[in-house]
């Protein structure tokens, strides 16, 4: 026998106006296990709560039902009330006789009958309530940032400034990412390096930031607050502790290869830093191209190194560290336009991409900032820009808009006009999208003052004719085919997810969309979180973004991570799933259904027929479980149960409302 008290609220006339609350209380008093029932004007008021507290003492109540408004409104209020009366707050149920009854059913008789039913339901459930406890776990106050581009750097700086240690894992030899390759930034035409490199230096010198460049995340175990992360530090062939970054080795290295950083437009050495301001400014050996590694001969870099830092024997190193939060900022790739036969499958040297163009106009780039076309190094007079290459193209590319191309193409056209007197730019576009501060104005200037000719239409064919490139399009505004003989064609290729994004998502246990961009927990309300607690997103790995958006999102992700790390203990809700291990058969169907990866298999040992036997059962990580209960339905044997919403409780409710 339970001793339940039922408290029916008038809510002024909100309830009492259309429900006979006295009758509800009178009927409730007859319910099994109900020993006390009363009604009161405002149950949630101080005196109302006192009525409950007094009754708990006087009638020795061990369960409480309040019939009033929606539990979404006052459940926490009454739970606190029970707590202050010395009861476990979970021995409580609410009957919603206001929103679900008095406000919607004007017929007093019917409303009263329904109210009685709703109270009966709550009373039937409450006797099956069990005292529940919130659980808490400790948190490792340290964050891991995957990716050292502008987003990753910003996240790291923000978290580090808040006082928590941060590790940046960057797979390239230097941090800086895509922004380091860019020449100027729209719409202000700031020099990209001028604003990025100080941040890179800040990051490298910050006492709370550790940079692991030329490294990759190998394995992620654990859960929010307590991730165990294995990082592979790839062999640089250079001892970081000895190297001073003096540059002698790469000056003397005899092997020249195409520079990835310069988009194959320039050369680098086999021992190299990607660019002069690299952080850390210490080289790596490209073992694929290094003569020493290929043939065993050479070894010049080792000979010339004044500190003896070159180490050909160095091996990859695996380290495992604990982190409380992870921010993913792995950035994007450029769409490979070699699927476009009509644009020459990438075989015309003077059909280049936006990122190539960035290197061409960059003062420290392969042409020292002179726009020269790759085929014959002539300075182009006519430059055609084609937008939406790979973007908004379901047939050959991606269905989405890459968001940045309209602006960077405008920037490119502006720079062409500035750098090549007498030149002419043509920009083929479908729409010009400039939703950013100062963006539209920039575009207008480009078209009006910098004489970029905008032509609305997609280009159908680009072909070489002599030393010119013929670009065939339609000016769809007049409806006539147009043809331009250009010296150079710049394609605004789409921003696409990194090709290994899916692998990383699986390692991290986060989801990704059809285009391989990581999926945020909620597109509107939780834009920087993932479904995996403790893993956050920043920058273009979540979708195409320009620099301001990436930085803004980085700040948001950092603040989420800081919010998590600033707690010592993380409290999780008491409404979590629970496994009856004795009955669990370990089929693990529940595991695949849990959206939070809160269920895992564990081995238990039990005595069977006189000997000890091991057996697999499901185990719920209470700090990851969010209490949705999806697993409980998947479990055929019913040995998974959601505390607070158990099968028995819900069945009791069903039976009560069907009486």
């Amino acid at each position: 026998m339970r001793r339940t008290g039922v408290f029916v609220c008038h809510c002024g006339s909100n309830i009492a106006g259309t429900v006979d609350v006295e009758r509800v209380a009178k009927e409730a008093a007859k319910f099994p296990n109900v020993v006390f029932a009363t009604d009161y004007k405002y149950m949630c008021s101080e005196p109302g709560q006192q009525v409950i507290k007094d009754a708990i003492k006087e009638h020795n109540l061990d369960r409480v039902v309040v019939a009033s408004c929606s539990p979404r409104m006052h459940e926490p209020t009454f739970r606190r009330c029970l707590e202050s009366a010395g009861m476990n707050p979970y021995l409580f149920e609410m009957a919603n006789i206001r929103e679900h009854c008095s406000w919607v059913h004007p017929d007093k008789e019917k409303g009263t009958i329904k109210s009685i039913d709703l109270v009966r339901k709550a009373a039937a459930k409450v006797v099956k309530d069990e005292p529940l406890q919130k659980s808490s776990i400790g948190i490792t106050k340290r964050a891991l940032v995957i990716g050292g581009g502008i987003a990753g750097i910003q996240v790291a700086l923000d978290i580090a400034d808040a006082g928590f240690p941060v590790t940046i894992v960057e797979k390239e030899p230097t941090i800086g990412g895509r922004m380091a390759q860019i020449d100027k930034t729209f719409p202000t035409l700031d020099c990209s390096a001028c604003i990025l490199t100080p941040k890179m230096v800040d990051a490298s010198q910050h006492p709370n930031i550790e940079i692991l460049s030329y490294s990759e995340v190998e394995k992620v175990e654990g859960y929010v607050g307590n991730f165990d992360i294995t990082i592979r530090k790839k062999a640089r062939s250079v001892d970081m502790s000895k190297c001073t970054g003096c540059g002698t080795c790469w000056e003397k290295c005899p092997t020249k290869v195409d520079s990835e950083f310069d988009m194959q437009l320039g050369k680098r050495k086999a021992i190299y830093t990607p660019f002069p301001q690299a952080v850390p400014n210490k080289p790596v050996i490209d073992r694929v191209n290094c003569t020493k590694f290929r043939t065993g001969k050479c070894g010049i870099c080792q000979k010339v190194c004044p500190t003896g830092a070159v180490d050909y024997e160095q091996q990859d190193e695996l380290i495992t560290e604990k982190y409380g939060a992870i921010v993913v900022a792995t950035g994007f790739n450029q769409f490979d336009h070699s699927v476009y036969g009509e644009y020459g499958y990438g075989k015309y040297p003077d059909v280049i991409t936006g990122l190539h163009f960035e290197r061409l106009i960059n003062a420290s780039g392969p042409t020292m900032g002179k726009i020269k076309r790759p085929s014959d190094h002539k300075i182009p007079e006519t430059v055609v820009f084609i937008k939406c290459v790979g973007s908004r193209d379901e047939a050959k590319g991606k269905s989405y808009c890459s968001r940045t191309c309209c602006m960077y193409t405008a920037k490119h056209a502006t720079l062409v006009h500035e750098k090549i007197p007498g030149s002419k730019s043509y920009i083929f576009y479908m729409d010009v999208r400039t939703p950013g501060k100062g963006y539209e104005e920039f575009y207008k200037r480009t078209a009006e003052e910098y004489e970029a000719q905008y032509i609305r239409g997609r280009v159908s064919k680009v072909y070489q004719k002599g030393d010119k490139l013929v670009v065939r399009g339609e000016d769809s505004l007049i409806g006539r085919p147009v043809e331009i003989e250009a010296d150079m064609v710049v394609l605004a290729n789409a921003m696409v997810a990194r090709e290994d994004a899916g692998d990383l998502a699986r390692t991290l246990g986060i989801s990704y969309d059809k285009d391989n961009f990581f999926t945020e927990a909620h597109p509107k309300l939780r834009p920087v979180e993932t479904h995996t607690a403790g893993v956050f997103l920043a920058g273009a790995c979540q979708g195409p973004k320009d620099i301001p958006d990436s930085v803004a999102q980085a700040g948001a992700a950092a603040s989420k991570a800081i919010g998590l790390l600033s707690k010592t203990q993380m409290e999780s809700d008491a409404i979590v799933s629970n496994v009856d291990e004795s009955r669990c058969s370990g089929c693990m169907i529940c595991k695949g259904i849990c959206p939070y990866k809160a269920i895992d298999a564990k081995l238990i040992t039990e005595r069977v027929g006189g000997k000890m036997a091991e057996r697999q059962v499901a185990a719920v990580n209470k700090s990851l479980c969010q209490g949705c209960g999806a697993c409980t339905v998947a479990c055929r044997a019913g040995c998974l149960n959601l505390l607070g919403f158990t099968n028995e409780q819900i069945l009791a409710e069903v039976e009560a409302v069907c009486l």
Binding site: S585, G586, C587, M588, I589, G609, A613, R636, E648, L651
Partner: protein, 292 residues
């Protein structure tokens, strides 16, 4: 002759100590009874037989050997092999702990009505075998005999379709009559390789999933829930229907679910391979939802 081969295989496995028990079939009470046999000594191997009456799906017995020290060998027909896959998918059996001896299955026969001796060739195929599309084992370590050609299988959903076409009351009356006959002996559940919970929800103390009264409503609850629990997991071995002492057409329910799953979420045959995930264990963003 398969019988000879199976005896030899069992003998060899036991003699070499590769397995501790071999699960097969032996002759039972009458000439038309073949019944599960558990052999643990080489000399017992001669009890084994394979004939037209080895209808029992042996895979389920693997559950009894979950804690065995050594390996268990089991003979598997097409349906038994799918059952083994089912058990593997449900993590009830470890692949390395079982040795599967596949037997291409020519289809099992009905026992004669009178019991009088007669030519087995003249006996009809068991209902469960008439619509079998996987007579050959889909997983095995060793195969006895050559795979049999796939039989011409009639539309296995014909019965379901005919029922679907009936009126609501007619359907309810039919099922009501049938479920009223159910004696809740649970043979259907206990023989089913998809019913492999350690303890069935219906047997659990105090869970209140199912009343013990034998009446139409509780029997309905039992039968619908049983069907829902094997939804997407039923390997269509037909054992439930075969062993039902009351002769209830349980496959009409299982097949309805299979048909719907195929129609709604793409075709799926449980137990055919280990990698495919059962349809109720995952979802697609563009699943149909015309009922919403």
């Amino acid at each position: 002759m398969i019988t000879e081969k199976m005896r030899a295989a069992a003998k060899e496995l036991l003699e070499k100590g590769e397995v501790e028990t071999v699960i097969g079939w032996e002759k039972g009470t009458f000439w038309y009874n073949s019944t599960p046999a558990f052999i643990s000594k080489p000399e017992q191997a001669d009890r084994l037989v394979f004939d037209e009456f080895c209808a029992n799906n042996l895979a389920k017995y693997l559950l009894d050997y979950r804690n065995a020290d050594g390996k268990i060998a089991v003979f598997v027909k097409g349906c038994d092999a799918r059952a083994v896959n089912r058990l593997l998918q449900d993590n009830q059996v470890k692949r390395e702990k079982v040795y599967l001896i596949g037997i291409p299955c020519p289809g099992m026969k009905e026992a004669p009505k009178t019991g009088a001796a007669q030519d087995t060739a003249s006996l009809p195929l068991l209902a469960k075998c008439q619509s079998c599309a996987t007579p050959n084992p889909v997983i095995y370590d060793q195969l006895l005999g050559d795979p049999v050609p796939a039989r011409e299988v009639p539309n296995r959903f014909a019965g379901v379709e005919a029922l679907e076409a009936k009126g609501a009351d007619e359907k309810y009356e039919r099922w009501g009559k049938l479920f009223s006959e159910c004696i809740r002996c649970y043979a259907c559940r206990n023989v089913c390789p998809a019913c492999n919970c350690r303890e069935c929800a219906f047997d659990a103390n105090g869970l209140n999933w199912l009343g013990k009264q034998n009446n139409l409503q509780e029997n309905q609850m039992f039968n619908i829930t049983r069907a829902m629990h094997v939804a997407g997991r039923c390997i269509e071995c037909g054992e439930c229907e075969r062993v039902c002492p009351m002769g209830l057409p349980l496959m009409d329910i299982n097949r309805k679910i299979i048909k719907d799953l195929n129609e709604l979420f793409g075709s799926y045959d449980a137990g055919l391979n280990l990698e495919d995930r059962p349809p109720l264990g995952h979802y697609k963003l563009d699943d149909p939802e015309k009922f919403m």
